[in-house]
């Protein structure tokens, strides 16, 4: 791996369930893997529907960013995928509470499904980001 690159797996984010780290640092940019509303200690989806999952997913991003020397207020771009158009307002409400000026650019779209472990509540939303470090 080139020395300017580093993969980061944080103990503060839900452990990855596939071949990816929580984040990849290159130069002064941090690229964060999409996070769902999973509890970092149990790996289980949190309760509370869209609002609960979105809030937890952003907390996971925040923990990973901090481990990488960045923070939510240095996020440049986010991508949000969600499964139910009726969740839009709940999603935006949580997002607006967690992100403050300078706000990132954002791309949001509806998807057919998001990866879920068998026997758990449906994953309703996931969010990834690109942020500045340092």
């Amino acid at each position: 791996m080139p020395s300017a690159h580093k993969g980061v797996v944080s103990r503060r984010g839900p452990q990855p369930t596939g071949s990816y780290p929580h984040a990849h640092i290159q130069g002064n940019m941090v690229w964060v893997t999409a996070q769902a509303g999973r509890d970092p200690s149990s790996g289980e989806l949190v309760e509370g529907g869209m609002a609960g999952q979105m809030d937890r997913a952003i907390s996971n991003l925040e923990a990973i960013l901090e481990e990488c020397g960045s923070s939510l207020d240095r996020v440049i771009r986010t991508q949000i995928m969600y499964t139910d158009r009726a969740d839009l307002e709940a999603m935006d409400e949580v997002y607006a509470r967690r992100f403050h000026a300078p706000l990132p650019v954002r791309t949001t779209w509806g998807v057919k499904f998001l990866a879920a472990e068998p026997g758990t509540e449906l994953v309703r939303v996931q969010i990834d980001c690109v942020a500045a470090a340092g």
Partner: protein, 128 residues
């Protein structure tokens, strides 16, 4: 704290959510996904997919210009659309609007987009 510039302009539809039109960081400008809304009225343009996609690209272009970039400096574009039968029209219009050196591109079908939009496009572009 970052000294990144955030850009939100009158020449593109007013954000209907907690985001800005563009962010400059380093040598790149990142643009929020744009849909076919008229910047003046905020409403979807009439004329179906083709009109919406052209307007969305117009919106991206206006934002890029305000950010100090342009369509011909786009490095990567991403397109989401909801109806597979719009693929040919999407490719044709995209080919009319983007020229060499063409950006890298990812496009895919979405289950749904904001308030019934048929298509949206975002991009990352160079400032130089």
């Amino acid at each position: 704290m970052s000294k990144d510039l955030t850009i939100t302009i009158d020449g593109a539809p007013e954000p209907r959510g907690p985001y800005v039109h563009a962010r400059r960081h380093g040598v790149l400008v990142y643009v929020t996904a744009q849909i076919g809304r008229d910047p003046k009225t905020g409403d979807f343009v009439k004329g179906g997919f083709e009109a919406e996609f052209n307007q969305a690209i117009d919106n991206v272009e206006a934002i890029l210009m305000a950010a100090g970039s342009s369509l011909d400096r786009v490095v990567k574009a991403q397109i989401e659309f909801v109806d597979e039968s719009d693929l040919d029209a999407m490719n044709r219009i995209y080919g009319e609007r983007f020229h060499e050196p063409l950006p890298a591109r990812t496009s895919f079908g979405a289950a749904f987009l904001w308030k019934g939009a048929r298509v949206q496009i975002d991009c990352i572009a160079a400032l130089d």
